[in-house]
Symmetry: C2
């Protein structure tokens, strides 16, 4: 466990958005910078599906965070100026209560007895965390990918809780192409005999299913253009070839395998299933009766929506519609749409730092 | 077996492009129409990865073929005018010799003892078939998808064998995105415990692996736009829901499952693996030393390349490059590039008939 990680226990029953309760769940989080006297310089980051709360390094934990280039002193989200908070999502497995946690009522892991997870649960836990930290109103909520959907949930459920909103490579709901890919990922995990219907031993479990799911993930996170430029039809060096005609002899196959192997063992399979399904189920329209009505219920005055031209998971047209929809629903607001012309697909916010930095910088400069 | 299907046995050893031999392989094929006296009205269709030789129905076999709307009397490829030939690819499992066929030397199925398959082998078998049928020179070679790559192989290996070439939703070689998807499909099949390292009982085998592979296939064959328009976020009716939180409750999930179930049992898993890998390995550059040189070695005088704007597997830029490359290498030739603005992705040639028909019609009208 990282030295920078803190834990907040929510007192009593946590009521889940789609029914069921969790008794006194814990939320793992990190903070950087200092809350000022007026208490108005806090920024909350909601994460994508798989990251922990460790968005960036600090004196207490020098390991690079998942958004190291964006968050830190003198970086676009400047921790000398802002009090930055990042939590591990409820339902995940990096310190927050989720399917791999022990159910205090039974003494066993929740596994599939964990109630259905929704991004609204992550948003509510985030609200309880900022209340706990003494933050009345955030300067900004920032959410890339799944975290963008969580941010939209948060700012409609708690419209007064933040003055601004930065949604990156996300959307008001998942489209069928994304649902299809995630559905296949879940099926690969659940069909692996080592999944044992969810009752695998924690830390072990469906390695093959998780590897295959991660490969599908990489296909949806990157882009065909990037791979064409980067790998083309390169083969692995002769000494790495096995002679098996079906071996992973193309560099693209080898690259996917390396990413897949790095992922397995890191992430609990049941937690992955819950977070994946929560992403499918999210529909901002539930927060108003229609998408148009929900757009009008988003609280922040300043909103920036960032899309990437090569994103397969949340295509730019969806994000243009999001920005236009919010602007139409709330004519007085400062709503911006920024398109990043990156070839790095959905993952551009993690890998195309030269394009991402100035966008985040400009957002915060304008607050 | 269909009443229209004929079989041609290749005498002696068939030498495979990447080494190895098959003793006296059989090629299943169908023909429609009549070879005229001059012998100059024959058209050869090379198929995609999974179809049989049954491209269209006839009096002998009334079942609709895989390209029923394109091939037939008064259809765009008019069988009153042309003598149309379609073969099941060598290496496949619909009557032609492949990994599921009995090896006459052992009395057992070849399975993984089948030599590595290449699209050049399919092209060579096609050449031997037209020789057998008494066709000196084809009026046209037509190839959609994998068949387009086979057609490019055929027209460089046998430059005098056809006067024209129609390549649809294909390319001179596979790009890493396509290789990645096929690699995952193969891994799903091979990782299914019922695959038994290729030694499953013929007709049984890795059902789950084939189902999952087919779902990945559907993702690569169709497009996100199509699914957004067609399914959106529709859920299956209440009576089909199981109450399982991870069940296939979105219509897109149910649609993929229906397609996947239809596919399994139809196609031999080992044959699928061989044809899939052959698609990865094909590189037209091998037929000249570079792509540019290979373009110059393509025989036909009239060449049309058709691409679809929403194709993920063979993106249009690749097909523009193919048409431009051929035109640049052979300035005297009649080279056309046609872009179909369809949302149906790679499968447009099978499903968007209103856009496909006039393109094939115009190609043959110009011969």
């Amino acid at each position: 466990m990282s030295g920078a990680r803190k834990t907040f226990r929510i007192d009593g029953d946590f009521e889940m958005y789609r029914g069921g309760i969790i008794r006194s769940p814990e939320i793992a989080y990190e903070t950087w910078g200092t809350l000022n006297e007026r208490g108005d310089n806090a920024v909350m980051i909601f994460t994508g599906l798989s990251p922990s709360a460790h968005a960036t390094s600090s004196e207490k934990d020098a390991a690079p965070g998942w958004w190291e280039d964006i968050v830190g002193p003198s970086r676009p989200l400047d921790t000398r100026r802002y009090f930055v908070i990042c939590a591990n999502s409820i339902g995940s497995c990096f310190g927050s209560t989720g399917p791999a946690s022990i159910n205090p009522e039974t003494g066993d892991p929740y596994r599939l007895h964990f109630p259905m997870l929704s991004l609204e649960d992550i948003a509510l836990a985030g609200k309880q965390l900022i209340d706990h930290l003494g933050v009345d109103q955030l300067a900004a909520v920032v959410g890339p990918s799944m975290g963008g959907m969580t941010s939209l949930a948060f700012t409609t459920m708690f419209p007064e809780a933040s003055r601004s909103l930065l949604v990156i490579s996300s959307g008001p709901r998942s489209l069928p192409f994304s649902i299809a890919l995630r559905s296949m990922q879940r099926e690969m995990i659940r069909r692996d005999p080592d999944y044992e219907k969810g009752n695998y031993e924690l830390g072990a479990g469906p390695i093959t299913g998780m590897r295959l799911a991660r490969k599908i993930g990489m296909v949806s996170y990157r882009s065909a253009e990037e791979w064409e430029q980067r790998f083309g039809r390169e083969k692995v060096p002769e000494e790495r070839k096995t002679g098996d005609g079906f071996a992973l002899d193309f560099e693209i196959e080898s690259y996917l395998e390396a990413h897949a192997q790095k992922f397995t063992g890191q992430f609990d399979p049941n937690c992955y299933l819950y977070l994946s399904r929560a992403s499918d189920l999210f529909d901002l329209a539930e927060h108003g009766g229609s998408l148009e009505a929900a757009y009008g219920n988003i609280g922040p005055q300043k909103i920036t929506v960032v899309g990437v031209s090569s994103d397969l998971l949340f295509p730019v047209h969806q994000q243009q519609q999001l920005a236009e929809g919010i602007a139409a629903a709330s004519p007085g607001k400062d709503v911006n749409y920024v398109e990043m012309p990156s070839i790095h697909g959905h993952d551009s916010f993690l890998v195309d730092m030269d394009r991402m930095r100035p966008i985040v910088q400009e957002f915060f400069a304008g607050l």
